[in-house]
């Protein structure tokens, strides 16, 4: 029986750059949400939470920009497309939602994914990507 072929190496720098762009877009979407007019108005404490999430998301984007995660991305290569897809979907949902609780849930879940990627634990990354997908589907 033929052995399975090894995975094709990815362009880690390009992948890290794409993740940085995705997290930056999500951060911007959160800022746009909190600065927009909502009816009823969003309570101040929730706006503050959204601001914190947006900034933490931006921190992740900086980390990815520094391309410090090449090795991690290599280890989750089979799930990379899914990770990028759910992150992009999170941003899309934030731009159309009016429910601040749901936006905060998505931001929290996406941030967990970013933190897992930065920590470099493949199992945690895959679990966090799955959790974000569930949050989006709820």
């Amino acid at each position: 029986m033929a052995l399975p072929s090894p995975p094709v190496p990815i362009d880690a720098a390009a992948e890290a750059g794409q993740l940085a762009d995705l997290f930056n877009s999500l951060s911007q979407a959160l800022d746009d949400f909190r600065l927009a007019d909502h009816t009823p108005p969003v309570p101040a404490d929730q706006l503050a939470r959204l601001k914190d999430k947006a900034q933490a998301m931006e921190d992740r984007a900086h980390f990815f920009t520094a391309q410090a995660i090449g090795e991690t991305l290599q280890s989750v290569q089979p799930d990379l497309a899914n990770i990028k897809a759910v992150t992009a979907q999170a941003k899309t949902q934030v731009t159309v939602l009016n429910d601040v609780s749901k936006v905060i849930s998505i931001a929290t879940s996406a941030l967990s994914l970013g933190t897992a990627i930065a920590a470099g634990n493949p199992a945690s990354i895959v679990a966090a990507a799955g959790a974000l997908a569930q949050t989006l589907a709820a």
Partner: protein
Amino acid sequence: MTLFPRMRVVANLNEMRRSLSADTLQEDLMPRASRDLACLVAVLVLPLVNCTTPDEVSKFCVSASTTLTSASVVFDDMKLSCLREVNSRDEFGTFRPPVQSDENCNAIGDQAVGAAAAAKVLSDYFSAINSLASFGTAKAGTNAQSLLSKTGAAVGESSSAQTALGSIAQFLVSAATSGYQRRQLEKDLPKVSANVSAVVSALITIVHDDYIDRQLGSEEQKLAVRYREFAKDKSPEIKLLLDDRWHADEQALAAKRASAQSLITALQSLSKGFADLAANAHQLRAKEVSGLLGPYATQLQALIPQIQKGF
């Protein structure tokens, strides 16, 4: 290019033969064997002492080296832009001193230091070529291996650019320690040209994708958020004042983008000029070298102040 234009060498050789035969090497003063040996020595030494240095090679290399040195202002601003962005999270009027350090900005700073180190390796390479073209040997002294330990953070430890940097660093060390001479250069140029191109390409990606698009783009977005947040529910007068300040900030960012774009243009020119030089290393005469490299050197010299303008 020929670093030892054949016509000049032949002319000089003939001149020396005439001189030799007129003076000390007359038939009646020197035995035939000694005379032949003297001619042989003259033939071997002539290319090293009498070749004409094409000024344009030197001019091009100096311009390339200066361009690469001036790139440091762009790389330095990668971390500074990140810190400006972090500081823009404070609302106007909080009057807190700006943070000077941030974990994630430091990671970007490490990448920037790596990019600057890669530029320095290339700059040292062009200085060595200039030295070879001007004096016949590369000047001693390089910290190429030390620089190489930093470049992986910017171009990737296992990337083709890092391999290329390793090759260039090896050349620099060997040029400094083994008396590398310019006649070896013509042979090596095509090989090194591919390495220069790989490193330049990686630097352009960092400047374009990571700095202009990603970092400055993100800084601009967050700056806009800061203004929008503060302007909410403010009077039209205050909004007009903020608008003026926003445009000033925008101009500063545009100037940085323009400078970085000038660096990209310069890097492209430098790479193309060097590739042309390498491709024609065995074919061109001094006058043709001048025609080939002159426009590149002129363009680089014009771009250097533009690179520094925005900082």
